[in-house]
Structures are given as C-alpha cells and as structure tokens.
C-alpha cells in the first residue's frame, strides 16, 4: 500500500484545479444572478455576489414572456409524479424479475434491457402525433405519462433485489401464509429502500432537467416547464442577462439542493452501477 498510493501535494493541486473548473460556471451563474445587468459588460468579469438578487427575482417573476412561476410549478408536478411512479413500478417489476419464476422471464428481461439502448429521438415524432390524437398537446400529461416507467429503473431494481432480498426470507414469509403482494409490501419494499432512494433521486433530476420532449410537445408559451421558461428567456429579444441568470440559477437550485443533501448516495449509486456493468 506504501507510498505508491499516498496523495502528493501535486495530486491535491491537480484536484483543486479540476474542482475549480467544475464549480466555477455554477459560481459565476450565481454571481451574475445577484448583480445588475451591466455586470455582463464589465471586464474583468466580477467574481463576487452583488446585492441585486431580490430585484432580479422580482423582475423575473414579473416577466410576462417567460411564465417562470408556472414553469416552476409544472416542473415540480411533473418531476414528483414521474419519480413516485418510476420507483413504484420499478420495484414491483424488479422484484418479479429477481425473485419470482414465470414463463418468459428471461426473454422479457432482455426486452427491457434492449429498451435502454434506443435513443429518445426515434420516438419523438409519433409520440407527438399520438399526443395530438389524445388531445394532450400543450398539457402536462403529455410530458408525464410517457415517462412513468423506465427500463433503467426496472433493471436497477432487479439487480439490487437479487442480492438484497434473500430467497429464504421470501420462502419463510410464504410459509407464514403471505401472498405475493404482501411479501412485496412487507418484505421486499423495506429491503429495497436504499436502491429506491437512489433511483428516485436520479429520476427526479433527469425529469427536472429534461428539455427535448417538453420542447417538442409543450408549444403553448403560457404552460411551460422551467427549462422551457429558460429557453423563452434566453431567446428573447431583450438581453437582460442578470434576469436570465437569475432564472438559470433558480432552475438549478433544486438539483444542487438534492445533490448537497444526498450526494453520498448518488455517488454510491453511480459507482455501484459501474461495478455491475
């Protein structure tokens, strides 16, 4: 283990540079968000927060082109609904694939894995036509319903359930007269809690962050998600950049908050997924 693995001052210096580059754009976003519009024209660029955040927020929410408040509310609704649904359905299906025997199990699992390889773009056009037929265009169900299940979620829960729930435990529950539904609720779900938390966090972040599909299907500017509000802000003809940056900062804040609170679990989830890959 010796000196080969010791971190030298040079290691720390290199990491410091990497960390600085990682954090800098986010830091600068908050700096501009808290200053007046002429901060953008200043060279050298300002690096410390100013006192204009409140005024910028007020102007942002008053901006009648961006519908920023609606965007925030919509994104909260969409991300929460999708997260609950993905975690619930993934733990159901993951349990079935990991612990129950049924005809066609392996083939169906392969189908799920295959779905993870297909790019979303391929489905955008017919999905749009489908939404037109359902008259869901410009409405939130168009964004929510196609995202309610993911192959990734099922696969992840299956992998986790395979090791976290012992067959003996299930067998014992069955001996005691539990039906499969009760086994899922009382035995499996509690054991899956750590994986469910990671899946929930990742799903929430992905959904909050999604741009492509909402951009295609929510054309009514008065009913955007928060990412679409940002687009409206940045495509606008005025260039009030401190207001735009206040918007980007607010749109990023929930993600950063989740990350600060659950960073350890998220990192664990990513690294664990890699080892199994």
């Amino acid at each position: 283990m010796s000196r080969l693995w010791r971190a030298s001052p040079l290691t720390y210096l290199a990491l410091l540079v990497a960390a600085g580059l990682s954090v800098f754009p986010i830091w600068w976003m908050f700096v501009v968000a808290s200053r007046s519009s002429d901060a953008m024209g200043q060279l050298p660029p300002p690096m410390t927060p100013g006192g204009n955040l409140g005024a910028n927020i007020a102007r942002l929410f008053d901006n009648t082109d961006a519908y920023f408040l609606t965007g925030l509310i919509n994104s909260t609704i969409v991300a929460t609904t999708v997260t609950v649904s993905v975690v619930l359905f993934s733990s159901l299906a993951g349990f079935a694939f990991a612990k129950l025997r049924f005809r066609g199990r392996n083939a169906l699992l392969l189908v799920i894995i295959a779905t993870m390889m297909v790019p979303t773009q391929l489905g955008v056009i017919p999905l749009y036509l489908l939404m037109t037929r359902l008259q869901w265009n410009d409405r939130l169900p168009a964004v929510i319903v196609p995202a309610l299940v993911t192959g990734f979620g099922v696969f992840m829960m299956r992998q986790y359930a395979g090791q976290a729930v012992s067959d003996e435990l299930i067998e014992a529950a069955r001996m005691d007269g539990c039906g499969t539904a009760r086994i899922w609720w009382h035995v499996v779900l509690p054991a899956l809690r750590p994986a469910a938390a990671v899946l929930g966090l990742l799903t929430f972040m992905t959904t909050w962050n999604d741009f492509l599909w909402p951009y295609a299907v929510l054309n009514d500017p008065a009913n955007p998600t928060v990412q679409l509000s940002l687009r409206a802000l940045s495509d606008g003809y005025y260039q009030d950049m401190s207001q735009v940056f206040t918007g980007t900062a607010i749109a990023t804040l929930p993600l950063l908050l989740v990350f600060v609170l659950f960073g350890r679990q998220i990192i664990g989830g990513i690294m664990e997924g890699a080892v199994k890959a």
């Binding site: 391929l122 489905g123 955008v124 196609p146 990513i270």
Partner: protein, 330 residues
Amino acid sequence: MTVQLDARPPVAPKADNPHRSSGRLSRLDTRFSPYLYIAPFFLLFAVFGVYPLAYTFWVSLHDWDLLGAEHPFVGAENYTRLLADADFWHALVNTLGIFVISTVPQLLAALWLANLLNRGLRARTGWRMAVLVPNVTSTAAVAIVFGVIFGREFGMINWLLDLVGLDAIGWKSNRFASWVAISAMVDWRWTGYNALILLAAMQAIPRDLYESASIDGANRTRQFWSITVPLLKPTIIFCAIIATIGGLQLFTEPRLFHSGTNPIRGGPMRESQTLTMYMFENAFAPHYNFGYGSAVAWLLFALIAIVAAVNVLLLRRLGGGNRPEKKAAR
C-alpha cells in the same frame, strides 16, 4: 453488461401448508401475480415506447405533412432525398465533429481524474462531489451560461485570450470554434461522471499487482498504461458507448448555445446544427414535415449503432488484450 439470467430453483409452496385456507388461490397467486407486477411497465412501454418506434418507420415512408389531409405513401423517397440533402450531410459532419472532439479528451481526462481520486485522499467524498457537481446541474441553464462565457464581445474566454495577446474568436460564427465551445460544455458535464465510473473499476484491481510491478522496477506511468488501462478495458468500452449514445443525440446544448431569429439552425450558417436539431427543424417548426423528420431519426439511429460498433472494435485492441507488456510505456 453481464446480465445474470440464471436463478435459484423456484420457491415451491406445496399445497401441504396447514395454515392455508385455500391452496388453490395461492397457486394462482404464485403463477400469475408476476405478470401483474411487470404489466405496468410493459403496458406503458408498449403504448409510449414500442409503438412510436415502429410508427416512426411507417411515417418515414410517407409524405406526411402535419397540416395535410392526406399522407400518401412514397416508399424510400424521403431517404433518397435525404441522402442528396447537403444540409443533412452538413449536420452529420457537425455531429461527428463535436462527438469526436468532445469524447476523446473527455475519456482521457476522466481516466486521469480517476487515477488522482484513487489515492489515499483526505476529504474523499468532498472531492468526488466537486467533480460530479457539473453532472447534476440543469443542462439548459448551463448551455445558456456557457453561451455567455463564449460570447464574442464580453465573453470571458475571449477576454482571457486578449490578456495573453491572442485575437478574439467568434465562438458562435466560426464552425470549428462552435464545435469546440459545445464540446467544452459536454466535457464539463460528463468528465467527472465518467471518472467516478472508472474509479469504481480501478478500486477493484488487486493492489499487489502494482506492488510486484514496482518491485520489477516499473514506474507509475508504466504501471498506469500496462496494468490499469488494460484491466479497465471493459469499463472504458462501457463509458465510450454511453458517451457515443449521448454525444450523437446532442440537442439541448447546441440548441440553447444559440439565440436569435432561427436558433434551431444552430447559427446563421448552420455552424453547429446537430442531427437531432435538423430532425426538429424538419419535423416541427418551421417545416412540419413528419415523414422527412422520421427518416432523419432512423438514419440517426443507424449512425449511433454503427459508431457504437466501431467503438467496440477499436477499444478491443486497446492495451493489446492479454499481453499488456507489449504496450510501450509512455
């Protein structure tokens, strides 16, 4: 990805359970309830996943205008027209260009970063969080911020260039420069994520391999290229494929990098219009030509499959397979 498809023998609750009032009901339960549990996924996926997929192909064989009352069948015409379309090839070159100049540095930097993180560090979690934080930000927000950082007049990068006596670069109006700017966004977002995945695999390498190598006189660099890299091959391939799928689908970053009158074109001369943007331009505003857009989508899919396959072939050769000693130390 190795998928473990074998399983333990079934848990068989024979009907000899005295506590069970109706053994038949429980047999029905074990037999059919699994289908009940996976049904939500397959039902939703059939409607919103499989059906659109097949339907895209069907639409691509038609002259399908959103406003048109009829959608006549035209066979492969959309595809042949597409292959003769200069804007399509232009977008294809943009996509591949951005993909190459983002993926290669990204994976190399991730490898280096993972190697740094694989030491005995103080505040381990803190460093990991710091390099991962770009990955958890809003893509749309970051694209807008980078759009300003790479601005022509007051952008920070041009200001830095000026400090060292270089001319300002038109990051949005020069084709190659706009590729670099967009690649910078992609790398900023994904390098830390890949580093963590590589780090996890690095930690699984037995350390006595390094011990004996250093007794044999191999220095750290030599060890890195002769032990670490070859043993990480499967994980590197995994990262490369994920980067390929993501890189060729790039949309949010280049779309929001541009603003103004026609941002879906990726600049006035289509400097950084990717294939997905080209699909959007044709399928939705301003053209609403769904048949043509669907053809673009299918060719994009084919491209992803081809590039992923090439990736695997190239990376298989990385590190010389089982004979790492043949690889020259760098």
